[in-house]
Amino acid sequence: MNARLEVLATGPQAVVTDHGRPGHAHLGVPPSGALDRPALDLANRLVGNPAGAAGLELLLGRTRLRARGAVTVAVTGPPVTLRAGGRAVSSHCAVRLPDGAELTVGAPDGGVRVYLAVRGGLEVPLALGSASTDLLSGLGPHPLVDGDVLAVGDAAVDPVPPSGPVPASVPAGVARLRVRLGPRDDWFADPTGDLTGPAWSVSPTGNRIGVRLDGPAPRRRPEREGSELPSEGMVVGAVQAPPGGPPVVFLADHPTTGGYPVIGVLEPDDVAVLAQARPGSTVRIAVVG
């Protein structure tokens, strides 16, 4: 029987994640998948898994797991304290857990989301080709609860690389997000000025669906005030600007269509930066492209 991971304590929220299920947006299915994909990819590399093997996304850490059978894991994302079998161990490198050993993931120093990969990948039933939990549509496994037991699969392809810990990237105090204007920047009086001027505050209500940036609402052109937009397709990183309210940036579990104009779209590499920006922290926007 393959090894398993028993969830002793989930922390604020723990979900199974991988590269998601793109290709179904025309059926109303969000892409889902890891919000900080480079962090999940690194964790998988550190244990010899193929990119996109299923792991865990741990919101603000504070998770305890027990190995049932020996397993090798790696924890990535922001710097975070780890204890394995009672000993302090490093994040961002492979950690071997003997049968029965407990892994305690602390609260990350900065950032929001911690990733855990296990050699072989997690084996959970796939929905539309993905193991990811989708909080909008309910596809994929439910968010983990204390007592869940997760099967470990056979997905490993490479030996565990012999490297020591790789440096964790520490989220900057002020996150900088690059935005390309459009598709509906022409609804706004000064899209560049209204995006780049304010020091935006990351709203505490953010989740896997989207993050609100608190600050002044981008001003509409007079002829667009009171206008409604027929629903149109949305992408990850879309900066939606509802009338009179602050913008919302869509993340992986976003609705596939929306009816508020999108003033701009985040550069793909910066989606992970926003996903790791602490509630209450400041972000600045630069317009590119």
Partner: protein, 206 residues
């Protein structure tokens, strides 16, 4: 009919939003781009007046732009979609409201709804939630002033120019006229959504 090419709008690094002037032009454009079968296209999302085309990161949008330039949005073509008949029990909570708003009887609401042929214009809001165009004029009514926190799965509704069937329990503001037992979304099925853009739908009273 004159050909008006889609207006192309930028939508981030890896997507274009094509803007069209009618639902028929949206359907024709989505159909033509699906037929082009460009391997880099990962999402092709028709909506009310737009088609979103998204490519795999690291590829490019040049071939999509070329394919879009070839599209004839006036080529309505033969609807190649599947045909569905959905049995409905017309006892929705808002049936009387819909009748009163239209100034007709509830029986006439049912007759109008069962007499129309609908087309799945696009999906969105939730997996398998289709926006069905072809709603008869008297049933084109606004959403409820305050949405319900929980609409039961299978509820049949009308709002704006569309009808819908809620694939699962969810919040919602459409006016509910009936309910169906049909399973509209099953992740294990292929395709997982019973109603996909381009399909034709009729309702029958049971």
């Amino acid at each position: 009919m004159s050909t008006v090419s889609p207006r192309v709008r930028a939508c981030g690094r890896w997507a274009l939003l094509l803007e069209l002037d009618s639902a028929d032009a949206v359907a024709a454009t989505a159909r033509a781009l699906r037929a082009a079968a460009l391997p880099e296209v990962v999402e092709l999302v028709p909506a009310a007046r737009t088609v979103l085309v998204q490519v795999r990161p690291g590829t490019g949008l040049d071939r999509v732009r070329d394919a879009v330039a070839e599209v004839d949005p006036s080529d309505v073509g033969a609807g190649e979609g599947d045909r569905h008949t959905i049995p409905v029990l017309y006892d929705g909570e808002d049936l009387q409201l819909v009748a009163d708003t239209a100034g007709i009887s509830t029986d006439e609401v049912v007759a109008l709804h069962t007499g129309a042929e609908f087309t799945v214009a696009f999906c969105g809001f939730a997996p398998g939630f289709g926006y069905l165009s072809g709603l008869p004029e008297p049933l084109r009514q606004p959403r409820l002033e305050s949405p319900r926190a929980a609409v039961p799965s299978g509820s049949v509704g009308v709002a704006d120019v569309y009808s819908c069937v809620y694939p699962r329990r969810s919040p919602g503001g459409w006016r509910l006229i009936g309910r169906s037992d049909l399973v509209l979304f099953d992740p294990a099925a292929d395709p997982p959504a019973r109603l996909v853009p381009g399909d034709r739908v009729r309702f029958e009273a049971r």
